[in-house]
């Protein structure tokens, strides 16, 4: 396991993501944030905390989305679900999905399926810390990207606590 980003670099990326979210929207009254479990939920908490500093006095809605029941490879391995916490209405709102790593695009597809069972948002945007662009399997792009990484298909990239780590793949 190798550390890709230490806490200082990570917090720099989070600040820059928060800044571009702020510059695009400025007003967050009709916007809700949903962090995808587990890495995206951790990141989402940090991004929304940063945003609160940029728009003092404004309430920022933040929820956690668990996609376990919507995975397209569910029969390969039955996983225990994580906590789902969406304590607000998403009908006609702009939802900003947050995830730590955008890889094949399958997680985001599952997250969109999950989201639509809560209502019909006006718009959905995607914000990710790391984009592993060359491995995409679905036509999904992020609106906000912290950084792009060149990786092997078999590598695993994860946000663990306050560091981003790479677990090298065995083959190729």
């Amino acid at each position: 396991m190798q550390t890709l980003f230490k806490p200082e670099k990570l917090s720099e990326l989070i600040q820059s993501l928060s800044k571009s979210l702020f510059e695009t929207h400025k007003d967050f009254r009709n916007i809700v944030f949903a962090g995808i479990q587990q890495g995206g939920a951790v990141l989402g908490e940090q991004i929304t905390s940063e945003l609160k500093l940029l728009v003092p006095g404004q309430n920022i809605d933040y929820g956690k989305l668990d996609i376990t029941f919507y995975r397209d490879d569910i029969r390969k391995e039955i996983l225990a679900p994580d906590t789902m916490h969406m304590p607000f209405d998403i009908e006609n709102k702009t939802v900003i999905l947050i995830d730590d790593v955008l890889f094949t695009g399958r997680t985001i597809k599952a997250a969109l399926d999950t989201l639509l069972d809560y209502g019909r948002p006006a718009k959905v945007e995607l914000c990710v810390l790391i984009d592993r662009k060359e491995h995409r399997q679905f036509p999904i792009q992020a609106d906000y990207v912290g950084t792009t990484l060149q990786t092997k298909r078999t590598d695993k990239v994860k946000l663990i606590k306050d560091e981003v780590v790479l677990i090298p793949g065995e083959e190729g």
């Binding site: 376990t68 029941f69 919507y70 039955i78 225990a80 994580d82 789902m84 069972d117 809560y118 209502g119």
Partner: protein, 307 residues
């Protein structure tokens, strides 16, 4: 984390981690049931047969709804309207159904051990929805889920199981489960309805005094008097049973603390529970029914990947 078994035949076969996994998964399914779309696609490639060789309303509806909420395909089989009435054996019926590519079987049968027999002979995952006087594991799981929700845990909770213990698969499954999760259990009822060696065999306390039992417990799980399973007279009349072991509002109000009332249904109103108790705010009978769907979704989901 996965269940340690391929089937759910009884609580007896589960360990503490299995039970915790089912209960925590059920909490997530309960959240699903509060959404605008109360459905997930998890089991859309799974076909389930509900084999009911014995009458059931609540359990059958609850399983069927759980299956539909998971997007599974379902077929229903009721023994009274099928070829079983023409003399086909259980194994033949099930093998015929399985040749139609069924992945899971939910079964209720009047013979204790019927689901265990099936599990040895067919490759599908079997879920016991009640077998004779043996076990009714999903009822015990939904009871535990409801107690946990109300008491914020199971460890150390004092549960009284009251009524016809002798003929009750619900009592047996509840005792296994509550003991595994660290709760304390007392069974209470007339001596004729409590198995003689239950204290030694299952490690429960036995009481024949309803007032004392209610003073002791945090939760009273009141069982139905199962008239259809009694071929001998075990108490003189329903009226007498109500006087000695029926729970009235007056009795509840006379206790030092407010206890929780549960009942697996269907209630014999005026026999084991008076109407004003069944409908009181201390009763969580309807929450049990609601939780039943979430708990059964959890069991079906967790067993769906084992083929």
């Amino acid at each position: 984390m996965q269940l340690s078994t391929r089937h759910l035949l009884g609580i007896k076969d589960l360990n503490k981690e299995d039970i915790s996994l089912i209960l925590s998964t059920a909490a997530q399914f309960k959240e699903v049931l509060q959404r605008p779309v109360k459905k997930v696609p998890s089991l859309r490639d799974v076909t389930i047969v509900n084999l009911f060789y014995e009458n059931s309303t609540r359990t059958r509806f609850s399983f069927e709804l759980a299956e539909k909420r998971l997007s599974a395909d379902t077929i229903n089989f009721a023994a009274s309207s099928s070829s079983a009435a023409k003399g086909e054996t259980l194994l033949d019926t099930v093998q015929n159904i399985l040749s139609m590519k069924v992945d899971m079987v939910v079964m209720r049968h009047s013979a204790s051990g019927a689901p265990h027999f099936l599990a040895q002979h067919i490759p599908a995952a079997i879920i016991n929805a009640g077998d004779g006087i043996n076990e009714h594991p999903t009822q015990a799981l939904l009871d535990a889920f409801s107690i946990q929700e109300k008491m914020r845990g199971l460890e150390g909770v004092k549960v009284a199981i009251i009524g016809d213990i002798m003929h009750s698969r619900v009592a047996q499954s509840n005792i296994y489960l509550l003991h595994k999760m660290g709760a304390k259990v007392t069974v209470c009822g007339p001596p004729t309805l409590i198995p003689k060696y239950i204290q030694q065999a299952l490690g429960v306390q036995v009481s024949y005094n309803l007032q004392e039992t209610l003073e002791w417990c945090d939760v009273a799980n009141v069982l139905r008097i199962q008239l259809e399973r009694q071929n001998q007279v075990l108490f003189s009349s329903l009226r007498e049973y109500n006087i000695a072991y029926g729970i009235s509002k007056k009795l509840l109000d006379s206790l030092q603390k407010e206890i929780v009332i549960m009942h697996p249904g269907p209630i014999n109103r005026g026999v084991e529970l008076d109407s004003d108790v069944a409908d009181s705010k201390q009763s969580i009978i309807l929450q049990q029914v609601e939780n039943g769907v979430a708990v059964r979704m959890a069991v079906l989901y967790l067993l769906s990947g084992k083929n």
